[in-house]
Symmetry: D2
Subunit: 380 residues, 4 copies
């Protein structure tokens, strides 16, 4: 297999449709559009059902990419995995993380014996409304993860550090369609359907990564058996697609990328300790030793933290009542993103972090996976 060289660009934006920062990098030759394999964006909508900033950013990206790829905007959105996660509550700063990949010659001298960042993508077929949140979605997702691992050149499941899934939700139109056909969807509530879709997708990842016993995974487990989870899955539901898109991030020896990736699991929304330990043990970075000035140094090296956030479903954090689940003004995922974004920014020293809401079966109940991408030395 030919080795990869993966590039990662974190690019700020002034709005969901603002790609001027992206265009500047293209104009400067720093970013080659044809190399782009995935974009993970944080857009400033509500991150819930009627968040149109995700589609809006996707439309902007499609129109930007199309002429470079020599295809229509719709085709561009098929070729590049565009994952827009809505919601920048609290200090979170809207941005795009752009992943590029270039294949090197297979017989090129090995650049790094040490493992480096690799990426693979895949997607499932479209789902019927009644498949969302159920076994059909779980299995199709697991299969897509395996395909993306193969593309990435990752052979061992422990070398996968983050799996981003973009998945559909049920709109009221889809719910009506199912009911008209005398079929009951997993839920009739559009907001709730986002949780079902994320949960089934995460279980699909857990299945592929052998984190859960296959026998325990089924329709009845979704949003029910919280003991089943992936420590590396991140799923976002969006109104703009009918299938799942999967991006696998991991490490492989021989890759020529100047980046490393590692992951941990936050046990709850305020578990700063686990992320501090990750940085210390995997990357020899001590966030406490870094003062005001070196924050900037850290924020430069730490390209991004990719994390999931959710409000604890038992209504408690560290044994004390929280009010997120009873709040009819602000949805619980929005509260959770604000908290996790704040906690992670207090460690990372910057706020353009990928914190995505709704961590059903992604980490333990109330907690979630976190992956750190670190810039290391440039490839020789």
């Amino acid at each position: 297999m030919r080795p990869q060289r993966v590039g990662v660009h974190r690019i700020d934006c002034r709005g969901p449709g603002d790609l001027s920062g992206v265009q500047a990098l293209i104009d400067a030759g720093t970013l080659v559009p044809a190399d782009i394999v995935a974009v993970m964006g944080k857009t400033e909508g509500n991150g819930c059902v009627n968040d149109h900033t995700r589609e809006y950013a996707s439309m902007a990206w499609s129109h930007l990419l199309a002429p470079h790829l020599g295809c229509t905007p719709a085709e561009a959105a098929q070729r590049v995995a565009l994952v827009m996660s809505g919601g920048t509550e609290g200090v979170l700063s809207p941005h795009f993380t752009v992943f590029t990949r270039r294949w090197l010659e297979a017989d090129a001298p090995a650049r790094h014996g040490a493992p480096r960042l690799v990426i693979g993508t895949a997607h499932t077929r479209d789902f019927a409304p009644t498949e969302i949140g159920r076994m059909a979605q779980i299995e199709a997702t697991a299969q897509a993860v395996r395909e993306a691992m193969a593309q990435a050149g990752i052979q061992r499941v422990q070398d996968v550090h983050f799996v981003q899934v973009k998945c559909p939700l049920l709109t009221s139109t889809k719910v009506q369609k199912a009911l008209a056909e005398q079929q009951e969807p997993a839920t009739r509530d559009t907001y709730e359907s986002m949780g079902y879709s994320r949960g089934a997708s995460a279980l699909g990842v857990a299945l592929a990564l052998e984190e859960v016993p296959a026998a325990k995974v089924g329709d009845a487990a979704v949003l029910r058996d919280w003991s089943l989870y992936s420590g590396r899955a991140s799923a976002s539901a969006g109104i703009e697609l009918d299938h799942n898109v999967v991006i696998v991030l991991g490490e492989a020896p021989g890759a020529a990328s100047p980046y490393r990736i590692a992951h941990t699991v936050m046990r709850d929304a305020v578990d700063a300790a686990s992320v501090r330990t990750l940085l210390r043990e995997c990357f020899a970075i001590d966030p406490d030793r870094e003062g005001h000035d070196s924050d900037e140094a850290l924020s430069g090296r730490l390209v991004n933290l990719l994390a999931k956030a959710e409000s604890s479903p038992d209504g408690l954090v560290r044994g004390q009542r929280h009010t997120m689940l009873n709040d009819s003004d602000i949805n619980a995922t929005r509260h959770a993103r604000a908290v996790v974004g704040g906690v992670l920014a207090s460690i990372a020293g910057h706020t353009a972090l990928y914190v995505s809401g709704g961590a059903e079966h992604q980490g333990p109940a109330g907690g979630g996976p976190v992956a750190a991408i670190l810039h290391v030395e440039d490839a020789v």
Copy 2:
């Protein structure tokens, strides 16, 4: 002056009107209602103009206290400083912090040479709508701070570690009243008036604590000159009062309280480092050394953190754009409370923290004061 013995009880609640936990402590003889001088509550409303949970909790407290104090509910609310701060976004857990005070004999043997927690309260006259957010409110607040210091037995301004102010806001009725009298209030916007009232109150504290030069303080400075601020003021605006209530917390030698208090200033909403330093340097607590289990130990000793939160008015945190000020669905103070609550809970290990929104002139722009109350050995 007779020495004080101050008690601090942090009591959870199941809703703004739930005082069953308080009643249980009274029934057990742990809490003596006649000793209560102040209650600082976090209630689960929106913390903005139409947050009626503050009044609701105050009504519940008034009715609970009245028979114990032998007065009407309205009189009880005058005798005890009831400060209800709305908004428990994110992980924040609704609770009441109850301060009791008992005067000891003046010639009692000195309990502690070391300084211990003392408390003093005072209040201003009612303000006219046009006085809110202006010099009249600033000066009356400064005077009330001095009165409360005297009552607390604090002689040096550096021994004051936290000044809580509860202040009024402009409702549309008050705005109309002013306009009908041909007078322009500081703002016509009810939500914005909360900021003006908090800002003027904080400048009053800064004036009394000699944190700002008197010559620079005036109408024009309010919400304009962010270089003027108090590092110890905390102001909350509420619809339920027309005057300012002031609670001064500090330390004095000779006090018989089993508590200490110290403070720091967060430079921005994600400045965990300053709070970690405070705990380490003032109380010899290293939050990083404390593991999962000792979290609980810390959360027991650390009675509460009292903090202010605000979204940075220049639209940036650590140099990156935030979206709080342009969000027309969720007010900026709500975002900020969620962030600071999360960051502090990640340090304190518990979530029943007093994080109050709107830190105008309370700490630097985008940051805010934080005080820590620590339980130490019981008085001999």
Copy 3:
């Protein structure tokens, strides 16, 4: 049976805890507290799960009534049916509609051969979390309606014009309790539970009023079979109670009340025509003939409109898409109350109307019942 004389007072308030208008009527001797049997309030919360304005108003009423009734506040809340409906979106004006009742001598000369307003109340036992939204709640409600009809002296179901039910909801605490006991509640979503509770309550009314065939009513019909509904039920869910409270309003000959009541059903949220027809045909009032000035005359005679509002569950109004069900910022019931409140105010000429959200099985899907209470000549 002794005839009733029912009084109806519509009283404005400045907030959920403001009973100064009520107190003024009591002081003037216009309102006798011991005569009060029911209060239907519109309070200015969000009308959803975390709307504490309902409890707050109830607490204020309990404390006001207790000394007059010679009982504790908790007992007062048992004796008087306090139904607080949250949500005054749009033009709706917060107010209380107070129903008094005095029993006349049985052999008193018949005041009115014509039917006049009568009232009856009843309540069910407390419900377990798993009973909410299911047959147990339906049957208990039907039984309570029959008891309230008997108390009101109404013998024919067609003489019932409005049945107000206050019912509980599932908080996350209740959901956890049921799950801990291995029992699945009707829904795990707190906001959604309000709909289940209202729906089951309404089917209970429909059952009692013989509006639906008993054979078709069961667990599976709740929020499923929209062909089953009551044209006179109005159910509001609140966090402050565990049982259903039922108020039956109707007409009976011989009653000495200076009020009449009639009802219609709006087929959708903008069906002004049916309400205009009701006023014209039952009360000989033509809202179109009434100009700007006579609006006030009408608003004086038309004591209140009692109505239910809901967003059409099929996502359409008059065949066109609405966005209420996909809105994750504002819950659908809030949109619907704003619309129906506006439409009814455009007919009634005043805005202190009782429009309550969530009309599941109350009127046809997307529509809802409306009752009009008209002041007629005073009893001789």
Copy 4:
């Protein structure tokens, strides 16, 4: 001057970026892209500062039009007046109203002696942040109205029935920019700036249409002197532009359009009577006579109602308190749109209505202008 033939298409959409309905009309030859002069869209965002659905719809339209007009998307947005008004609260249905115009031969036989619909557009220069909400914006708008009237062939101000203005707002970036240059904008609050921009734009229309005395119009009048207003202005603020776009709709004899237009002014948000009178007197339509079936007939003929909505700034509707201005969860303009949308739909019989929020100086305080576009016979 050559006569116009104006076409009006009201087209539903499934989201802000869905132009499939538009494309279908183009494919069918019913709509000729090169004829389009203006699009007035209702998109399903919050209609406030961070409503990105307006930009999103504009981006979609620009990309659709560009190939037909033989220009870039940016140029298309300059040539066609794209006015997207956010906010479809309550029953309002997202849609686009597309205006086409074709110039006929000057010597063509007069089609209609009777006046028929004509349209004209114009735009101002870009405004500096400090010009927004002030005299510079007022005067530039008035000049643009005059230019658009001339283009439309309207000579008398009374023949203008609706003037739509799209105007900019202050983002926090713009506010910071002004402050950095030591200049104070009309307001520092981004949400409030939308009101200032709409208000100044409306006064510009009033000035051009001679509805207010020029001597009374100035900076101090904006959002202050509510006696000054236009009965035909409709202004919407959006984040996507820096200048004002003006669309004048009126009637002129000789136009060959199969449409008429007329206007009235609602005195408050629930003033159904004035709109009923308009339909009756101008178009001989009696909404009361129209039953369920003929509703559809009416909804077919009544192409659209164009209206402004606002919450009454004195806090009262028909003398009773409303809660819109003190609501910190839902902005007041959202409440008002829901109400006016409901009231108008109850008259028009359909819900795809153009109801735009924020009626500062557009109609009397709390009320707003309404224009009705009626399809009449096709041109001979």
